[in-house]
Amino acid sequence: MCLAIPMKVIEVRGDAGDPLMPQIAVVDADGISIDVRLDLTDRPAAPGDYLIVHAGFAIHTLSEEDALINLQLFKEMAEGVRKLDNQAGGSS
């Protein structure tokens, strides 16, 4: 149910200030364009951003940089254990 793959925004339609024109993002999902509702996004989405999509709605907007920061966190976590292990005299 929880698709984890962020989808890239190609185009944003509608007007955030006009309830008669709800905002929709056209996203690229593995080469297929699909429409995603933006009613729930915590941060406005622009072309080039990525969306986490659940049941046709974007629930989170993220950028490439957000993903890179997350990767850095993992690397630091692994490094943190290595340092502790060295202090404890571990071999691995």
Binding site: R37, D42, G56, I59, E64
Partner: protein, 362 residues
């Protein structure tokens, strides 16, 4: 996303797995509950169980929305489907879930209109296209799904449409987790917290659990590196004897969650008591429609009721959802109950623990 593959890469997962094996004082037995059905599935699919240190035991939790929907609710969905002039628009994994007699799929075979939709908004579009029918959406799901239902109801209101309604069966995660963590027999050391529920409610939502029950918590995404980093955070906390909430899914989850989605849910829904399959009635764990939105309540509109219904005979889904039993311990598992002929909901849904075991267990 250029770096998307990195979260899936073997190299990064391996570095994290090595770190996991090297956590000081980690030779004790560690019991971790992965709450979310998508985690259960991803852990199997990526073969992570066989790569983890042997002392880490993973227990699956109640995080499959279809699985925790009691048979009495499923009966009400079927009763609605059998009414003239009603179309059921539902997420696909619900249609084969057995109630006390039959499923939505069987009702469809017998002539009821049951349409599978990807989004509740597709149900609303169906209502726009077929104005002489009432479209009923069984609103099963957790915090991730609730805002999508809320937004759909608000859109129905905006359009002035009166032939779309929902069977409100949404649930929230913290109360059942509290119930499970208070159970001394379960003896859970750490919680791998669901990624997309947390995108909505925020990582801070688990702080009371960590503090009150001394349970280590880590929010994680669904790629291999995400899951292993979550397990690494939990193992470190558990071996340090600390209990806090670590957010390992920073690209999607913030401390306070998605405020806009929370606002929409609060606008449309109010917290009420509700029944969970296997766990019974849990106070404050359900989402009911607020007074201003009662006209979208299919129960009132179609005069439906939830009657108490017995669980399928011999089915151990209840104990499996509580983490008390593993699927192979159920007498029906793999014999009378298989994904092709499911008896219990945990075997039906692709998120279900039994379905995951059946597909991947050696």
């Amino acid at each position: 996303m250029k770096c998307a593959d990195e979260f899936r890469s073997r190299d990064l997962a391996e570095v994290l797995l090595q770190a996991l094996s090297a956590v000081p004082n980690s030779d004790r037995k560690i019991r971790i509950m992965e709450v979310c059905g998508t985690h259960t599935n991803a852990i199997f699919r990526h073969g992570l169980r066989s790569l983890l240190p042997k002392n880490i035991e993973l227990i699956s939790g109640p995080g499959c929305p279809v699985c925790v929907t009691p048979a009495g609710h499923v009966d009400a969905f079927i009763a609605a489907a059998r009414l003239d002039g009603v179309i059921i628009a539902t997420f696909g994994d619900l249609i084969r879930v057995p109630g006390s007699s039959g499923s939505l799929a069987q009702a469809r075979e017998q002539g009821a209109r049951v349409e599978i939709v990807y989004s509740p908004m597709d149900g609303l579009q169906l209502a726009q296209a077929e104005t002489d029918q009432i479209v009923v959406f069984p609103a099963v799901g957790f915090e991730t799904t609730a805002p999508t239902i809320a937004a759909t109801i608000l859109e129905t209101e905006r359009l002035g449409l009166n032939n779309f309604c929902v069977i409100s069966a949404g649930k929230v995660m913290p109360p059942p987790l509290e119930l499970l963590m208070a159970d001394p027999d379960l003896n859970i050391d750490g919680l791998l917290c669901p990624g997309h529920v947390s995108a909505i409610i925020g990582a801070d939502a688990y702080k009371p659990l960590a503090e009150k029950y001394n349970i280590s918590c880590a929010v994680a995404g669904f790629e291999p590196a995400d899951i292993v980093s979550g397990l690494l955070s939990l193992t470190r906390q558990i071996c340090d004897d600390t209990a806090r909430v670590d957010n390992c899914y920073t690209r999607v989850v913030t401390e306070s969650g998605n405020q806009r989605a929370q606002q929409l849910v609060n606008e449309v829904f109010t917290i009420e008591d509700t029944e969970w399959r296997g766990l019974g009635i849990i106070p404050g764990s359900g989402l009911g429609l607020r007074d201003g939105y009662k006209k979208y309540d299919a129960f009132a509109r179609l005069d439906l009721h939830v009657e108490p219904a017995p669980e399928p005979k011999g089915c151990k889904c209840g104990d499996i959802l509580k983490g008390r039993l593993l699927p192979p311990a159920c007498p029906l598992y793999g014999k009378r109950c298989t994904p092709l002929q499911p008896i219990g909901p945990c075997m039906v849904s692709s998120e279900g623990t039994c379905a995951a075991y059946y597909r991947y267990w050696e």
